[in-house]
Amino acid sequence: MSENSKNSYLEVKNLSKSFGNFEAIKDISISIKEGEFVCFLGPSGCGKTTLLRCIAGLETQTAGSIIQKNNDISNEPPSNRDFGIVFQSYALFPNLSVFSNIAYGLINNKWKKIDVKKRVDELLDLVNLTDHAHKYSSQLSGGEQQRVALARALATSPGLLLLDEPLSALDAKVRVFLRKQIRDLQRQLGVTTIMVTHDQEEAQTMADRIFVMKDGEIIQSGTPSDIYTKANSPFIASFIGSMNFIPAKIISSGKAQCHQVEINCKTESFSDNQVVQIAIRPEDIRFNQENENDNLITAKINEIEFLGAFQRIYFHSVKVSTDPIIMDISSSIARKIQLAIGDELSLYFSEEDTKVYQV
């Protein structure tokens, strides 16, 4: 047994799953530590839900194995595995009250009535739904239903909590509130949790570790800030947050030619004359105020988008690229400097903030 698997709570080894000719997940191996909150993040159709369902036993993998707490559970039916699950649709039983829904799994495990009541009350308190115990799910709001589903999944104290897009059916505001509540709950209980989502903001705010998936493969994993700052491909860089891409050619070490302008960037792994893309986050672009001398671009404002706390400005620079260059600045700064469409300004970004990707 490898060193790695001794510390890990859940281990997925070389897992593949095909539906007919379609390979939903391809040879995935991951390892999750006890108490960790991880996210499978990716666009729809990337295989993240299939991976989750394989871990739950709701789908059967075509190859590979799953090990939970050093037990090989690959061939176990869902009923022999230790997990709780919350679905996007919540799947609350419509004919049972909130109380009975949460008690549903306990009753089967031959709990005494009084213990069931105690446990359900505890859970209702945990998700702040004590007053709703005797309502039906159709009488609850989306956010409340979501919390009932969570309480039901946690009722039997499973070792693993699986969340399948748990927030995507909710209003934006409720979603932000529940993100924090779920995260706090997870920390409090210390239950190992896997969440599937296509919302990068959700993954960033909730997860300890993110697995970014695309076309059935994990293309990067790491902490939210790692993934944001060290995205290893243009796909991830643009999927997680926004990114400007400028076509360029390396001319010498630390220098690239973008159309008519020379840009200083980190070129370590590239050789001269290689065609590349230079990437820069919109918030890393600033107005040139102190006469910095590297990476200056003159550009004209094409469009200003008001996004509340900040503003997104679309520049056009004939000398650099045909695509617009996007810059985010805080609204309070924008108010002070009074920007208008057609203004020509000098923009600056540091060599440190650039990333270079192969085309």
């Binding site: 709701l58 190859a63 799947a91 039983f93 799994g105 159709s138 609850l140 989306g142």
Partner: protein
């Protein structure tokens, strides 16, 4: 190494999975024994001569050589197509009035329009005899034509198939997006153009589906042409004559095949168009609400009033005929016709019918619901589930008369171990369940599809065996459709003729069959009385069903009535 592992990975099964597999296997076996093999023996019989030797298509050749039999095919097609056209037109107008106008008394009209569902199809034929028969009240209105023949068959067929058409058309006309009409209005489209460019295309699959359903019903119906067809022969009466009259089973089998093929074609076209219908309405559509239009509303009101009056007059006349002393000479009222003077065709057949209906409803509902649950919710054995689904749809394409004949050939065979069920109540119950399987099955499937598909997954994650979840959640939630299935089976078992005409024995005569035989022996009043008995029971059971449903539903469906708007 991965490819090596590929083969030996199999999902571990829990106990629910194993029970499910076992059940699924038994459904396949049951369908084989009670549907596939009997139909097989019917086909086989059509390829044999009287001595049981295989003769290939000789019987079919003989059939084509017989002008009288061939004429019946033409007759069957003629009455079926004519009735279909009439029914589709009037049922479309009627359902349009119910769904798209602000005509008053909609509830009343809908109720009256569904009345023919409660009676056997022969009731219409009997009523027509009283109205237009040799001693009918309105005989002169036919201008010298006889009601005994195509006119009578078509009129009676239109009467009894009308509610079937109405139900389909109401559904398809209700599925309409009011935004389409608003868009048309904004673009200054005339009402007439909107009708032809939005309403008709929107309902076209419903219309196609209706046409094929009605065609099949009339084409394969036995009771109506038997009672009012006179010398006008159709395929269904030919089969009966060949089998019961001349004991020529081979020719009966051949004609059955001729009956079966158009019914099958119609079935598949119907299935296809129903699938198309579903995709027309999206969750974003806004349901159409009719606006007041005095002229249209009044025209529709008079149209529906006339139809409602006709329905009332038909069933009213059947009732009147049943209690008149001696039509048309002595019009004093009496209940003596309910004493049924003909031996073997009296109250005992009525009780037999009630028993049959009760058993068919009880066992049929359980079998059909569990079967559809297996198909819809089992996670394994995809292929077997597909097979059961296919079998479950098949009975709809098989006319009752054909199924009944197939049962004779299969179960009456001396070497069949199930021979003992022949001529018993069991074979009638089984035949009735199979005959009416498809519609009930589809009702159950629709109900199950509306349930969250993750319920079973949640249960598994909570270590709840599937059967417990079935008992605590699926069953309670599905109670309304389960009640609908049971009442459907009950009423159809009471009224059916074609499915059981070959299968009853002296001890198991049935009410609707008795009515036919009473009529055959000249006791038209007795036939009317027997047909009305079926109507009374159907009404009583409907009422009982409504009361019980309300009571039980108040208990189990409390959640339905507590819905608040969560947005």
């Amino acid at each position: 190494m991965n490819f090596l592992k590929f083969a030996d990975i199999k999902r571990g099964k829990d106990s629910s999975d194993r029970v499910g597999q076992l059940l699924l296997a038994s459904y396949i076996i049951l369908f084989f024994v009670f549907l596939v093999l009997p139909l097989g023996s019917l086909i086989f019989k059509s390829l044999q001569n009287k001595d049981g030797d295989f003769v290939g298509l000789v019987n079919y050749y003989l059939y084509l050589q017989e002008p009288a039999l061939f004429q019946s095919l033409y007759n069957s097609l003629f009455v079926a197509i004519t009735s279909t056209i009439i029914v589709v037109v009037i049922a479309f107008l009627f359902s349009y009035a119910l769904t798209r106008t602000c005509m008053p008394f909609k509830g009343f009209f809908k109720l009256i329009a569904l009345v023919p569902l409660l009676s056997p199809s022969i009731l219409a034929a009997i009523a027509l005899v009283y109205w237009f028969g040799n001693q009918g009240v309105l005989k002169e209105m036919l201008l010298g034509h006889s009601i005994y023949g195509p006119i009578g068959i078509i009129m009676a067929s239109v009467y009894w198939t009308f509610p079937h058409a109405l139900i389909i058309l109401i559904t398809s006309l209700s599925l309409s997006d009011s935004r389409l009409y608003e868009a048309a209005e904004v673009l200054k489209t005339s009402k007439l153009r909107a009708f032809f460019t939005i309403t008709i295309p929107g309902a076209r699959y419903g219309i196609i589906s209706t046409a094929f359903v009605i065609f099949t019903q009339v084409f394969t119906d036995f009771g109506v042409p038997k009672v009012i067809g006179g010398n006008y022969n159709v395929l269904a009466t030919d089969i009966y004559k060949e089998v019961v009259g001349m004991q020529n089973f081979q020719m009966g089998a051949v004609i059955s095949m001729v009956l079966l093929i158009p019914a099958m074609v119609a079935f598949f076209i119907d299935r296809y168009s129903r699938k198309k219908q579903i995709s027309l309405l999206t969750s974003r559509s806004v349901v159409f609400k009719p606006k007041k239009n005095f002229k249209v509303d009044m025209i529709m009101l008079s149209f529906c009033s006339v139809l409602a009056l006709i329905i009332i007059l038909m069933i009213g006349m059947a009732q009147y005929g049943a209690i008149v002393k001696f039509w048309p000479y002595n019009l004093n009222l009496t209940i003596k016709h309910y004493n049924f003077q003909v031996a073997g065709l009296g109250w005992n057949s009525f009780y037999n019918s009630v028993r049959l209906a009760f058993f068919a409803a009880l066992f049929g509902t359980i079998i059909i619901f569990v079967g559809s649950y297996l198909i819809e919710k089992l996670r394994i054995n995809e292929r077997s589930r597909g097979l059961v689904q296919f079998f479950a749809l098949m009975p709809m394409a098989v006319p009752g008369l054909v199924l009944g004949l197939a049962y004779i050939f299969f179960f009456n065979a001396k070497d069949n171990p199930l021979n003992f069920i022949y001529a018993t109540m069991i074979i009638l119950v089984v035949n009735t369940i199979v005959h009416f399987y498809t519609v009930s099955h589809l009702t159950a499937i629709t109900a199950l599809k509306q349930m969250d598909k993750e319920f079973e997954s949640v249960s598994l994650s909570l270590k709840i065996p599937t059967y417990k979840m079935f008992w605590r959640v699926t069953l309670p939630v599905c109670l309304p459709p389960i009640f609908d299935i049971s009442i459907y089976l009950f009423v159809n078992a009471m009224t059916t003729v074609s499915g059981v005409i070959f299968l009853y024995s002296y001890d198991t005569t049935l009410a609707a069959v008795s009515a036919i035989h009473l009529d055959e022996q000249g006791d038209v009043a007795g036939a009317a009385a027997m047909a009305m008995l079926i109507v009374y029971v159907s009404i009583a059971v409907r009422l009982l069903h409504t009361i019980i449903t309300k009571k039980i539903l108040r208990k189990t469906q409390a959640w339905r009535y507590n819905i608040i708007d969560t947005n």
